[in-house]
């Protein structure tokens, strides 16, 4: 019910706001795909630092194939996902030997390697200048150059992607992923082929990152390696940390909230990184579970809150 209401509102609003807002909302949809797919990988405990790079792989795939092979938009977006999934599976193979912080830093290394290939290999990636003149997307004769039209295209991709990931999150496969996160050795001894399932999660996550990448490429019309640098990755991490990664809804909360904060803080341009850095630190120290970890608290009766508050007060007294 709530979902339908939200969708209805999303269908109406582009006609009632400025075009820059419509573009912001389009970016928001892409961010949602990115954040939810990142969290899908983290369900196995594999926190990587290269998801943005995989978004880039999708973007480059869409830009190159869209430009040179003339593949239409509707086919190209999922195809970019498949290309990214393939690259993800290849990169995951050596990374399987690492986990935890080792995985994190290894994924960063492999991500940087991919990024440097874009910089270094002028043909076909275009070097620092990237790829320009990505053909304008068209869908059933409808020009998606119009921001409102593109808004709806991205919304559809977002809704479908999120729905699919939600189905996966509620499946037995996702349970196996979560089991690997809690205790990979136990999962393995219960018959879960940990290597295969980690690769599966990584590949599926990369597939959706690739879709997000293709949507970005068509939106911008030109891409270069800077679109997928470490700062973008940090913002992605901030979304997921602040929303929380334990439930499906955490990253959605994070993206939504921070997009709003980001828009409201436009005038603070220069101070913005400090603000987000500060928020990240505060959350990691005081609310490591993210905002979603507060949700169960909302369901508690007020009396229990009072009791907890009393207990918390006693911890403040010295000795």
């Amino acid at each position: 019910m709530a979902v339908i209401t939200v969708l209805a509102v999303l269908c109406v609003i582009p006609f009632h706001m400025g075009l820059s807002r419509v573009d912001t909302a389009t970016v928001f949809f892409i961010s949602v795909i990115l954040a939810v797919s990142y969290r899908l990988i983290t369900t196995t405990g594999d926190w990587g630092f290269a998801h943005i790079i995989f978004q880039g792989v999708g973007a480059y795939a869409a830009a190159l194939l869209g430009k040179h092979a003339g593949i239409p938009f509707i086919v190209m977006v999922p195809l970019a996902g498949l290309v990214t999934a393939l690259v993800g599976a290849i990169v995951m193979y050596p990374m399987l030997r690492t986990k935890g912080f080792g995985f994190f830093i290894t994924s960063f290394a492999f991500g940087e390697l991919i990024r440097m290939i874009w910089v270094k290999v002028k043909d076909p990636f275009g070097g620092v200048g990237g790829i320009i003149n990505i053909p304008m997307p068209e869908l059933f004769g409808l020009k998606l150059f119009s921001l409102v039209n593109y808004y709806f295209a991205c919304m559809v991709f977002m809704v479908v992607s999120v729905f699919i990931m939600w189905r996966i999150d509620r499946s037995r496969i996702a349970n196996a992923w979560k089991a690997i996160h809690t205790d990979d050795m136990l999962a393995e001894c219960m018959g879960v082929n940990v290597a295969r399932y980690r690769t599966l999660a990584f590949t599926v996550g990369c597939f959706f990152a690739g879709i997000a990448g293709a949507l970005v490429a068509y939106r911008l019309g030109s891409i270069d390696p800077h679109n997928f640098n470490i700062n973008e990755m940090v913002y992605l991490v901030i979304w997921v940390v602040i929303g929380g990664a334990a439930t499906f809804w955490g990253p959605l909360i994070g993206v939504t909230l921070l997009t709003v904060v980001f828009e409201l803080s436009r005038e603070l341009e220069e101070w913005r990184p400090m603000m987000f850095g500060g928020i990240l630190i505060m959350f990691l120290i005081f609310l490591p579970g993210g905002i979603e970890s507060l949700l169960p608290a909302l369901r508690r009766p007020p009396s229990e809150h009072y009791a907890r508050f009393r207990k918390w007060l006693t911890t403040l007294r010295p000795g």
Binding site: W47, L113, V234, I238, M274, G277
Partner: protein, 289 residues
């Protein structure tokens, strides 16, 4: 490559290795003692450079006073980071790392607001002129860092092996629980490690200030190199970090000269990726400081 270019590149390599060693050794200290992965280490380096800019360029004091002031200022920053961030993120390395990514942002904006933005800061070079060997020449200012780095590393080694406190620090890195049973306060040692990490990053930043482009984002590049160095050298090993710094400094400089800087960066990251996959404990294994 003719002889002059070779000598020139050799000198550059030594200088680059010195910077890498100075910066990486601090990161390795912090990681070795309490598994604190500090991404803001590059910003420590940046703050060191700005402190020198303030003392030397703006206040007009002696260059070396600037260097001497930068060390304790950044060391204090290290201690504060331990107390505010790592103490609270505890055993979760990843959370500590991400929080220091946030800290990096905070420090960048702080530098921007304190020292203004726009163009990079120019500093009058205190030591003009260059050392000339054949056709090769390297500015004296660049060469200063070599003896300073060697002196700092010797001092650090002397501290770790000859001073009671330094030995306690090594004991903590090797077996914190048993160290606590001997009466060593592990928390204090963690703070000490972060202070040393800050001090060496601050020193490197101050020394490099006249030859580097001072911007709030100058630490970004250096921290990635420092992580490559400690991963290749073995994350818990200070000795390994020094060896890896020298190797990578040479590779980086030579590849940059022979090919270009992007390829050099690729080779560096490639070596790191290879190390992580093939030999996760690093070149020098599990040796601790």
């Amino acid at each position: 490559m003719d002889l002059d270019t070779f000598v020139q590149t050799l000198l550059n390599s030594i200088q680059t290795s010195s910077v890498y060693a100075l910066v990486a050794v601090g990161l390795a200290m912090a990681f070795g003692v309490m598994k604190m992965a500090n991404f803001a280490h590059g910003e420590f380096y940046m703050i060191g450079a700005y402190v020198l800019y303030q003392v030397y360029q703006l206040w007009g004091l002696n260059f070396w006073i600037g260097v001497v002031v930068a060390i304790p200022v950044v060391a204090l920053l290290g201690v504060a980071t331990e107390r505010v961030i790592f103490r609270n993120t505890g055993a979760n390395i990843l959370a500590g790392f991400m929080a220091t990514v946030g800290l990096g942002f905070v420090l960048q904006v702080a530098a921007l607001q304190i020292w203004g933005h726009g163009l990079m800061k120019r500093i009058d070079t205190p030591y003009m002129g260059a050392a000339e060997i054949g056709d090769a020449h390297v500015g004296w200012q660049r060469l200063i860092i070599i003896p300073c780095a060697i002196a700092m590393l010797i001092a650090l080694r002397w501290f770790l092996y000859n001073v009671k406190l330094g030995k306690a620090l090594r004991a903590c890195a090797q077996d914190p629980e048993t160290a606590s049973l001997q009466g060593i306060k592990v928390r204090n040692m963690t703070m000490l490690a972060m202070a040393i990490a800050g001090a060496s990053a601050g020193l490197a930043g101050a020394l490099m200030a006249p030859v580097a482009a001072i911007t709030p984002y100058m630490g970004h590049h250096i921290v990635i190199i420092a992580f490559i160095v400690i991963v290749v050298g073995g994350t818990a090993s200070v000795g390994g970090a020094v060896v890896a710094a020298i190797i990578l400094g040479f590779i980086h400089t030579f590849v940059t000269t022979l090919v270009d800087s992007t390829t050099a960066a690729m080779v560096g990251v490639g070596i790191m990726a290879l190390t992580l996959v093939v030999r996760p404990q690093g070149l020098l294994g599990r040796e601790t400081p």
